[in-house]
């Protein structure tokens, strides 16, 4: 086993063992500490995956389109030809690191504050289980394995919302679980269609279509895309998201928005587009239209929204619309935009949910009408909120810009009346995004403090700063040096586009 393979195993094993250790530690605070250490070790294992392994397959016409830097391929259920096949490349690595980072920050945040409803120990253990599922999804190179990890996430997330959430948590959790389960059924059928038609579940072999007939590809893409559209979420399959976000505890929202949604977009790029490129080309216009509808409708709903967390949840619908528009263009520029948009949305929306949670914890309300004047009583919190909102509205120079601007540019690049119109409408959506975030800031931070805000102190806890500062710095760093994400993704995206446009 090489060093890289060891890391791959460690990335999954450390949080899994960590979850067990947390559950086994009797004292609550000690257990949370164990969990935080496990999450930190996971991040330490995830970062060095970027080193080595690149260029071991020289480019040639028949080289596979997925060329992992490191991979581990073991037989698992030989009778069913299932393999335990993990690998990491430039498309998955940024998401792996993002997942590990956000989980670590959430665990660290839980050291300081446990939301009411259950023990901190159980919450941390569940967070680690969710992490295993998400990381496994990003690393799996076997379709069945991918499906398994995809499903692992569901129940612990349900438990987090139902256990530590707000007043209406059970209904929201049930809706989340049932709705995404509906997506999972489609995914299962899609996986079955692909495996049955191609005779293999290996994603490396499957990428490019593996000789599946056009009809099969159309069916497979439709099923897979629908499944991932529920997860992403793509309008009009998004309505589980606002409820789940509004009711979930802060750390739940952060993980949900930060990385859980990315399983959908990642799956769309790696599995749906990769495995059924012909289906992708066929469905691209529909996907593009729905993505732009998500941008516009998401932004408009935000403009009329009256609750902070719901507003941010709907903003996710709009932002993921930009990501999906990028994917739908099926160009290298578009996919690159989708990848960086994914990461940027994880960082920025994670930060936004942390801050919205902090505001809600301090004031006891999330209703916009009851919040105003935050910059008078808590200038630092207001400043951070302004930073996050501005990053989220896509200010050039911060992380959010690249994904949105280049999704628009990619649509213009495709050309033709349809895609040009989509590009224009998406750009208009950018202006609407600015409108609702400015409305949010104007309501929450400006004017005289409302009674709820008046009792807020200016101080920030150390744990809060620990959780937020890395995200602030990342939003700045990715904005100034987008190569951090795009540099590693260049080769795999080109390879993917190579097989899609073949």
């Amino acid at each position: 086993m090489t060093f890289g393979q060891g890391l791959l195993v460690a990335v999954l094993a450390v949080p899994a063992l960590g979850a067990v250790a947390v559950a086994a530690t009797p004292r609550d605070r000690a257990a949370r500490l164990v969990g935080t250490v496990a999450a930190a070790l996971t991040l330490l294992a995830a970062v060095p995956l970027v080193f080595g392994g690149r260029g071991w397959v020289a480019w040639s016409a028949d080289a596979p389109a997925v060329r992992p830097w490191h991979q581990l391929d073991l037989p698992w259920v030989p009778g069913l030809e299932l393999r335990f096949h993990l690998g990491v490349d430039g498309i998955s690595w940024p998401l792996v690191v993002l997942t590990a980072l956000l989980t670590l920050l959430c665990c660290a945040y839980t050291m300081w504050r446990v939301p009411g409803g259950g023990s901190g120990r159980a919450l941390v253990a569940l967070l680690l289980v969710v992490e295993v599922g998400i990381l496994g999804t990003f690393l799996a190179l076997d379709l069945v394995l991918f499906f398994l990890f995809f499903e692992v996430v569901l129940l612990p997330m349900y438990a987090i919302i139902a256990g530590w959430g707000g007043a209406d948590r059970r209904r929201a959790a049930r809706k989340f679980a049932l709705y995404t389960l509906f997506g999972s059924v489609l995914l299962l059928v899609g996986v079955y269609v692909v495996v049955a038609a191609a005779g293999t579940a290996d994603l490396v072999t499957l990428t490019g279509g593996a000789g599946m007939s056009r009809g099969t590809q159309l069916a497979a893409f439709t099923l897979l895309a629908l499944a991932f559209a529920v997860k992403s979420p793509l309008w009009p399959l998004h309505s589980w998201l606002p409820d789940a976000h509004t009711q979930a505890p802060t750390v739940g929202s952060v993980v949900l928005a930060g990385v859980l949604l990315k399983m959908g977009t990642y799956g769309l790029i790696r599995v749906a587009v990769g495995v059924a490129p012909e289906g992708a080309r066929w469905a691209a216009p529909v996907l593009g239209v729905l993505a732009v509808a998500a941008i516009l409708i998401g932004s408009l709903v935000c403009l009329a929204q009256s609750d902070v967390k719901r507003l941010i949840a709907y903003s996710s619908v709009g932002h993921m619309g930009f990501v999906l528009l990028g994917v739908a263009t099926l160009t290298a520029t578009g996919i690159q935009a989708a990848l960086i948009g994914n990461v940027a949305h994880g960082v920025i929306t994670g930060l936004l949910f942390f801050l919205a949670g902090a505001v809600k914890d301090r004031t006891g309300t999330g209703t916009l009408a009851e919040l105003s004047g935050l910059r008078e009583t808590a200038p630092r919190l207001a400043g951070l909120l302004a930073f996050a909102a501005i990053a989220s509205l896509g200010l050039p120079g911060l992380a959010g810009f690249w994904g949105e601007a280049f999704a628009v540019i990619a649509a213009v690049q495709v050309g033709g009346p349809l895609w040009t119109t989509l590009g224009v409408l998406a750009a208009v959506g950018g202006a609407l995004t600015a409108a609702y975030f400015l409305r949010l800031l104007r309501q929450v931070t400006h004017n005289r403090p409302s009674p709820a805000v008046g009792r807020v102190g200016p101080g920030l806890a150390g744990a809060e700063l620990t959780a937020w500062v890395p995200l602030v710095l990342l939003a700045l760093a990715i904005g100034l040096a987008p190569t951090l994400v795009l540099g590693v993704a260049e080769a795999p995206v080109d390879a993917l586009i190579g097989v899609v446009s073949r």
Binding site: A332, L395, P396
Partner: protein, 643 residues
């Protein structure tokens, strides 16, 4: 070396700004000493940043000869290359000097202007550190636009400026309207930026790179050029406050007065004009765009001038005058002379910064922005009075002050475009700009005279206030700005200066023979100037206590509300979008989510129904079982028979 200076130019204030943001915002909970220390650090950072940038800009101006370009790849997004580099020429260096000089003046002036006065309630907290840091960021962003060698880099500076204007306009928390004005400034410019981004996208996709040099060198199709040019103009209209996206600028007066000086003189509004000059070959290649620009410029010019005549708020007069002067600049661009446009941009930066800072002194002294409450300040504030005279004279175009030469430059080019058809756009655009410009001269003289008479002459209308000239920290920036406001126009006679504003790529009339023109053509604008000034003086002579604006008669409320364009914008854009948003929310909750919830309810309802069916008493249950058995038996028999 030059390239390094170019990179340093935006970096110095940007770093100062980012460092400044880390300072604790002086909160009233801090002890006085802690707050004072943070304020002192912020002052040092802000002034050092601006002074450092000014030094770099001057060094650049002295060293740059001929276009210099540096470039390295920033990021490659699927084959579209975004570069990081500077593109420097004489014009860039001159604009950079103007930006940094005004920024330095504003930084110094703000120290005195934002000090807590004896009349302010204790609750007022000026929060100096973030304010000074935001000015630094603003300056840095504008300098980024000035030196940017890549369209995406330019866009970064362009939008960061929009953000800084938003933050700074909302700074004063005593004004209830400030947050709304700030939001409007950001949003209106952002709407324009939708076009700007799309224009950049078109050009970048057509070229395969966003580097300005590559974009200019590439052979675009005519359709691309026209579309991209028009889209870029949307962004330009937003930033440079051109009709119909000018509405944010007068409202932006809610910001502290030094901020108005910064926005109106050196940054933000200058960016749009500068960007067009920067990309000028693209626009000349698609003359339709310049035609549109000329029409918009002429409308803006007259609209701003007319609106300025009826304002009572001294800052709003100046704000509308900015709108009008920007019309001269875009008009100059439309008739083919970026040199004349940039020359007017530079002189305007000097005299408008001077006017705003002087107005700030007046406001500081009398505690109101309304001219109807001023009057007679000439005796009590002589320094301010003479500085304002210089500024207003330059604005109206009184020879030999700066504005006279640059405005004359614009009018000469427009005249030759009208009479000889030398402009890139059709000659009627020349006529339009020329006539609008001439009429504008008269109106400008009228409202400049009105401002002077209302504020500084006549009897004091607030007898309780004892106004006096400002302390040194406010006085010196004003005095120093009066020098270029008076003399910068004469720089047009200096060969080195004129050469730096020359655009080698632009084959236009008017620019061959230098920036300034002395000849019989000078007489016509002078006649219009005397007409405007004479009219206002006449009206004032008749009744010294009355506002000369009463002469406007029924037009006065029309001009005061700027032709109700704000209301039009509100009715045509804001209200429909809000209604649409409410409809979208309702639709989303009732239709989309309703379908989901409905299917959930339907499923559980169906389940409950089936469960109810299964709950039966023994006879019916037994009958059901038997019936089922019968059915299965029947089926088996039938299948068996058929086989």
């Amino acid at each position: 070396m030059t390239g390094l200076l170019g990179a340093l130019l935006p970096a110095v204030p940007l770093v100062a700004g980012l460092l400044g943001l880390l300072l604790p915002p002086a909160s009233r909970r801090h002890g006085a000493t802690g707050g004072d220390r943070a304020r002192a650090t912020a002052v040092t950072l802000g002034v050092t940043g601006a002074a450092g940038a000014l030094a770099v800009a001057v060094a650049l101006l002295l060293t740059v000869d001929g276009p210099t370009e540096t470039s390295s790849t920033w990021v490659d997004v699927g084959g579209l290359v975004v570069t990081l580099g500077v593109r420097l020429d004489g014009a860039a260096a001159l604009v950079a000097v103007a930006v940094t000089a005004v920024a330095l003046a504003v930084q110094v002036y703000s120290i005195g202007y934002l000090r807590r006065g004896p009349h302010d309630d204790v609750d007022v907290d000026h929060r100096y550190p973030p304010y000074a840091a935001q000015i630094s960021l603003f300056t840095g962003a504008m300098l980024l636009v000035v030196v940017a060698g890549d369209l995406i880099m330019l866009l970064v500076g362009w939008e960061v400026m929009g953000l800084c204007s938003y933050l700074l306009i909302a700074h004063d928390r005593r004004l209830a309207g400030a947050p709304a004005a700030a939001m409007k400034a950001f949003l209106v410019t952002r709407v324009g930026d939708v076009g700007f981004l799309l224009g950049i996208a078109l050009l970048g996709v057509s070229t395969g790179s966003f580097r300005i040099a590559d974009v200019l060198a590439h052979d675009h199709s005519h359709a691309t050029l026209t579309a991209a040019g028009l889209l870029l103009l949307a962004g330009v209209a937003g930033k440079s406050a051109q009709f119909p996206l000018h509405t944010w600028l007068p409202d932006a007066m809610a910001g502290p007065t030094p901020i108005s000086a910064l926005i109106h003189a050196a940054t933000m509004v200058a960016a749009g004009v500068y960007a067009v000059a920067r990309l000028y070959p693209l626009f000349t290649a698609a003359p339709v765009t310049l035609t549109v620009l000329g029409v918009l410029g002429a409308i803006t010019l007259l609209l701003g001038a007319l609106a300025a005549t009826a304002q009572d708020d001294i800052k709003r007069v100046l704000a509308w005058s900015t709108v009008s002067q920007l019309g001269y600049m875009t008009g100059a661009l439309a008739v083919g002379s970026p040199s004349a446009a940039l020359f007017h941009l530079l002189t305007h930066a000097a005299f408008k910064a001077l006017l705003f800072l002087a107005a700030g002194v007046v406001i500081h002294a009398v505690g109101t922005t309304l001219m109807s409450e001023m009057g007679g300040l000439r005796r009590s504030m002589p320094v301010t009075f003479w500085c304002t005279v210089v500024g207003l004279g330059a604005l109206a175009g009184v020879p030999p002050l700066a504005g006279f030469w640059s405005k004359d430059g614009v009018l000469t080019v427009a005249e030759s475009a009208a009479l000889e058809g030398t402009g890139p756009a059709p000659s009627w655009v020349g006529w339009l700009v020329w006539i609008a410009g001439l009429v504008g001269v008269a109106i400008t003289a009228w409202y400049a005279g009105r401002l002077l008479l209302r504020a500084f002459f006549g009897a004091p209308r607030l007898p309780l206030v004892r106004p006096h000239d400002p302390p040194a920290v406010l006085r010196w920036p004003v005095l120093l700005l009066a020098v270029p406001a008076a003399l910068l126009g004469l720089a047009g006679f200096i060969r080195a200066f004129a050469d730096r504003l020359r655009f080698p790529t632009v084959p236009v009339a008017g620019s061959e023979d230098g920036l300034v023109h002395l000849g019989s053509g000078v007489l016509l604008p002078l006649a219009f100037l005397l007409l405007g000034a004479g009219l206002v003086l006449l009206g004032w002579r008749r009744d010294r206590a009355a506002d000369p604006a009463v002469a406007l008669g029924p037009l006065r409320p029309v001009f005061a509300r700027a032709f109700w364009l704000d209301d039009v914008q509100h009715t045509l854009v804001v209200r429909p979008v809000r209604a649409l948003a409410r409809a979208a929310r309702t639709g989303d909750e009732v239709v989309v989510d309703g379908a989901v919830e409905g299917s959930g309810r339907a499923a559980s309802g169906l389940g409950a129904g089936l469960a109810a069916l299964h709950r039966a008493a023994l006879p019916r249950a037994a009958a059901g079982v038997l019936a089922g058995a019968l059915l299965i038996g029947l089926a088996a028999a039938l299948v068996g028979v058929n086989r």
